[in-house]
C-alpha cells in the first residue's frame, strides 16, 4: 500500500515559503542551464544546418577553411571530370565561389566592429547547389557585372547601414561602394550572415586571381564518396568534403561554452540539491509525529522513503518546468559566434525538445540527490521514538 500522492502535494502546500523558495531556486538553475545549452546547441545546429550532406565542397589542398583556400581556373576545369555529380546539359552543376571579408559597425554599439563574409557567386549556380534553399525576402538579386549586393537576413539585422538602398564599401586595393538591392535568407544557415555579390566583381575589387571554393551536387551519399575520392585523388589533388562535414568542423570553438555549461550545471545543480535537502530535512523534522503515526498504522519503511523522495521530486520537477518555461523567453534571441573564418555568424537560440528533456532530467536528478538522505532519515526512524518526540 503506497501513500497517496495527494499527501505530498498537501505537505508541500503546508510549507509555502520554503516550497516556493526551493521551486524558484531550481527554476533559476534549470533556466540558466537550458539557456547555456541553447547557446551551444544552436551554434552547432546552425553550422550543421548550413552543411548539406549532398553538397560537395572543394578547397585547395592544405586549406582548412574557405577563407584561406585558393582555386585557380585550371583546377576548376579538372573538376568537370568528377564522377557521380549532378549534371545538366552542358556538364556538372558547379558553383565556383570567392570568399572575402568585409567589416562594419553593429547597430547597437558604435565601437564594436564585426566582420561579414563576402561571397562572390554566380547567382543561379549558387542557388542550384544549395537545393533552392535561397529565398529572397525583399528586393531582388544582384545583377551580374554591377556593383550591387544582396545581404543575408542576419547581416542586415546585425550591421548598421545594410538595408536596401544603402551603400556599403567592399574591396582591397581601393574600396568601392556597392548598393544593397536585396535581402535573402537560407533558412537559418550561416549564409544568412553573409553578403553576396557577383563573383567576377568581387574577385576584381579584392584583387583575387583565383576562387576560394567550388560546390557540386551529388544525388546521394554513395555518389558523394565516389566524387570525394576522385577529387582527393592524384588526378585532381584538391581537398573535398561534404558541406556538412566542413561546417561541423568549423564550429569547434563552441567547446568552450559546452565545457562551461557542464561545469556550471554541476556547481549550480549541487547547490540546488543542497537547498532541496534543507527543505526536505525540515519537512521530515516537522513531521516526526506524523511519520510515527503512519508507521504505527502499518506503512512500511519503503512507503515512507518513497513518499519523501516523491515529494522532493515533485518539488524539483515543478521548479524544472518553471525553469524551462523561463528559458523559452530567450527562444529566438540572437547571438554571434566567430568560427575559424574570422567572420561573424549570427544565430538564433532555439529551446528544442531535446534541451527541455535534458533540463528536466537534470531537475529530476537534483530532486533525487536532494531528497534521498532526508527520506532515508525519515524511513530509518523507529516508531516509538517518532511517536514520543515532538
Amino acid at each position: 500500500m503506497a501513500l497517496p500522492f495527494r499527501y505530498n502535494v498537501l505537505s508541500l502546500a503546508a510549507r509555502p515559503t520554503s516550497t516556493i523558495t526551493s521551486t524558484l531556486l531550481i527554476a533559476i538553475v534549470i533556466g540558466t542551464f537550458a539557456y547555456l545549452q541553447a547557446v551551444t546547441d544552436s551554434a552547432f545546429s546552425t553550422m550543421a544546418a548550413t552543411g548539406d550532406p549532398n553538397t560537395i565542397l572543394v578547397l585547395s589542398q592544405a586549406a582548412d577553411s574557405e577563407s584561406v583556400s585558393r582555386l585557380g581556373k585550371d583546377e576548376l576545369n579538372k573538376l568537370e571530370m568528377t564522377p557521380g555529380v549532378v549534371r545538366n546539359g552542358s556538364g556538372p552543376i558547379i558553383s565556383p565561389e570567392v570568399v572575402a571579408i568585409s567589416s562594419g559597425y553593429t547597430k547597437d554599439d558604435d565601437n564594436v566592429t564585426v566582420n561579414a563574409a563576402v561571397r562572390g557567386v554566380d547567382y543561379d549556380a549558387a542557388c542550384a547547389v544549395r537545393h533552392g534553399r535561397v529565398r529572397i525576402l525583399a528586393g531582388r538579386p544582384f545583377q551580374p557585372g554591377t556593383y550591387e549586393v544582396m545581404v543575408g537576413a542576419s547581416t542586415q539585422r546585425l550591421f548598421r547601414g545594410h538595408d536596401i538602398g544603402d551603400e556599403i564599401q567592399l574591396g582591397t586595393r581601393g574600396v568601392r561602394p556597392f548598393k544593397v538591392v536585396g535581402v535573402f535568407t537560407t533558412d537559418g544557415t550561416s549564409a544568412d550572415s553573409e553578403i553576396w555579390a557577383y563573383s567576377e566583381t568581387i574577385r576584381d575589387v579584392y584583387g583575387r586571381g583565383s576562387y576560394s571554393s567550388a560546390r557540386m551536387l551529388v544525388p546521394d551519399e554513395q555518389a558523394g564518396r565516389t566524387a570525394i575520392d576522385f577529387i582527393n585523388g592524384p588526378e585532381v589533388a584538391l581537398s573535398a568534403k561534404t558541406e556538412r562535414e566542413y561546417y561541423t568542423t568549423l564550429s569547434t570553438n563552441q567547446t568552450v561554452t559546452q565545457v562551461l555549461s557542464v561545469i556550471m550545471i554541476i556547481i549550480m545543480g549541487t547547490a540546488a540539491a543542497f537547498a532541496v535537502a534543507n527543505t526536505m530535512y525540515a519537512a521530515v523534522a516537522g513531521r516526526v509525529r506524523e511519520i510515527g503515526m503512519l508507521r504505527a498504522v502499518g506503512f512500511g519503511r519503503v512507503n515512507i522513503l518513497t513518499s519523501f523522495v516523491l515529494e522532493g521530486l515533485l518539488l524539483a520537477l515543478t521548479g524544472g518546468v518553471l525553469g524551462c518555461a523561463l528559458s523559452l523567453l530567450c527562444d529566438g534571441m540572437q547571438r554571434n559566434m566567430l568560427p575559424r573564418t574570422f567572420t561573424t555568424v549570427s544565430y538564433g537560440l532555439a529551446i528544442t525538445p531535446k534541451i527541455i528533456g535534458t533540463s528536466l532530467i537534470v531537475a529530476v536528478a537534483i530532486g533525487l540527490v536532494g531528497s534521498i538522505m532526508p527520506a532515508w532519515r525519515a524511513a530509518r526512524m523507529s516508531v516509538t521514538t517518532a511517536l514520543r518526540e515532538a
Partner: protein, 384 residues
Amino acid sequence: MTRTTVLIKNLTRNRLRTTLTVLAIALPMFVFTMARTMVEQVHEMLAESDLKLRVAVHQKLSFTSPLPQRIREEIEGLAPEGYITAVCRTSWFGGRIEGKPAAFASMAVDRDTFAKVYAEFEITPAENERFQEERRAAMVSPELAKSQNWKVGDRVTLTGSLPPNPKMEFVIVAIPPKMSRQWFYFAMDYYDETLRKLTGSPAGVNNFWVKCSSPEARQWALTAIDKHFASSENETRTELESTFFAQFMKSGGDWVGLTWNVGRLIVLVAVAVAFNTMSMSFRERTREIAVLRTLGFSAGKIVRMVLSEGVLLGLIGGLIAVGPIYALTHLTEFSIPRMGTMQIPNQTAAIALAVACLCGLLAALVPALMAGRLKVATALRKVV
C-alpha cells in the same frame, strides 16, 4: 560570552542544515568569483594594452586583407619628429606542426623593431642579438615552449595555414619569460623570401603596429594615418590596440561576457538558499525569540541578531568560495586552459565576500522583520 557567541552558537544548532546552506551559498559565489576574475583579466589586458601606446594600422575593411610592406616607410615618414618610437609589421602565419591539426598563434614580425614595439616582453639585448643574427630565428612564449617541450636551440618545422601553405624551418633563439600566452614570432624577411620563392609575390602585412612616444602622438596617429591613405588604393583603418582585440571577443559570442552574466544571475541562487534557511530557522525559533523578548531584548536587537545571523551565514559561504581559490592562485602558478595564469584580484575577492554578505543580509530581511514584529504574548502561547 558575548552576543557574537550566541550568534555562532545559533548556527551550530542544526549543523547539517548550516553546512548544506553554507556550501550552497559557496558554490554560486565561487562561480561568481571566477567569472568576475575572468572579466577583470580581460579588461585589465585591454587597459594594459592601451598603456603601451600602440595602435594597429590595417586595411580599411579587414585586417585579413593584407597591405603591402612599404606602407611602413610611409607611416614612418609621415610622423612629426619624435612621435613614433617604432613600427613593427606583422603577418599571420598560423603555423601547425606536422600531423597536428590545430594551428597556433604564429606571426612574422619585423626583426629590427620587434623588441622595441613589444617592450613589455622585456627581450634582453643578448636575445635580440641572436634574433638578428639567425635567419630562421624564432622567439616563443614560455607557455608554448613548455607545452611543446621546446628548448632554446631546437629546430622546429611548421606549415603555414594561409596559401600557399609554406613549410618552414625555424630555430628557437629565445624564450623570453615575459612573453605571454601561446605566441610564436619569427622574422618577416625570412617569410617574405620564402613566399617570393614559392609564388613570386611578396608577403602581405596584416597589421602595422605603431608604437607612439606619448598619448598626444597616439592621438595624432589615430587620425592622421587614415587621412593620409584615404582614397589611395591602400585605404587604412587605425585603431587602439584594445579596440582591435575587443572585436574578437564581442563577435566571437563573447563567452567571457556570457560567463559573467550567468555568474551574476546565479547569485540569486545563493540568496534563495540563504532565505530558505533563514525563514525555516526563524519559524522553528519563534518561541525562543519570544523568550528573548521577555528577558528584555528589544525588537531592534532581535532584528539585528537575525540580520547578523544571515550576514554571518553569507560570510562563511563567501569565505569558503573565495578563500581556497584565492590562496591557490596566489601561492602557486594556477592556469586555466585558454585563459593563461590566473590570480584572483584582491578587489574581486573583496567584492565576492561583500556580495556573499549582502546575500545573507537580503535573505534575513523578511525573517528579521517578522521576528521584530513578533507579538510576544501570542508567540509564547503558540504550540510549535
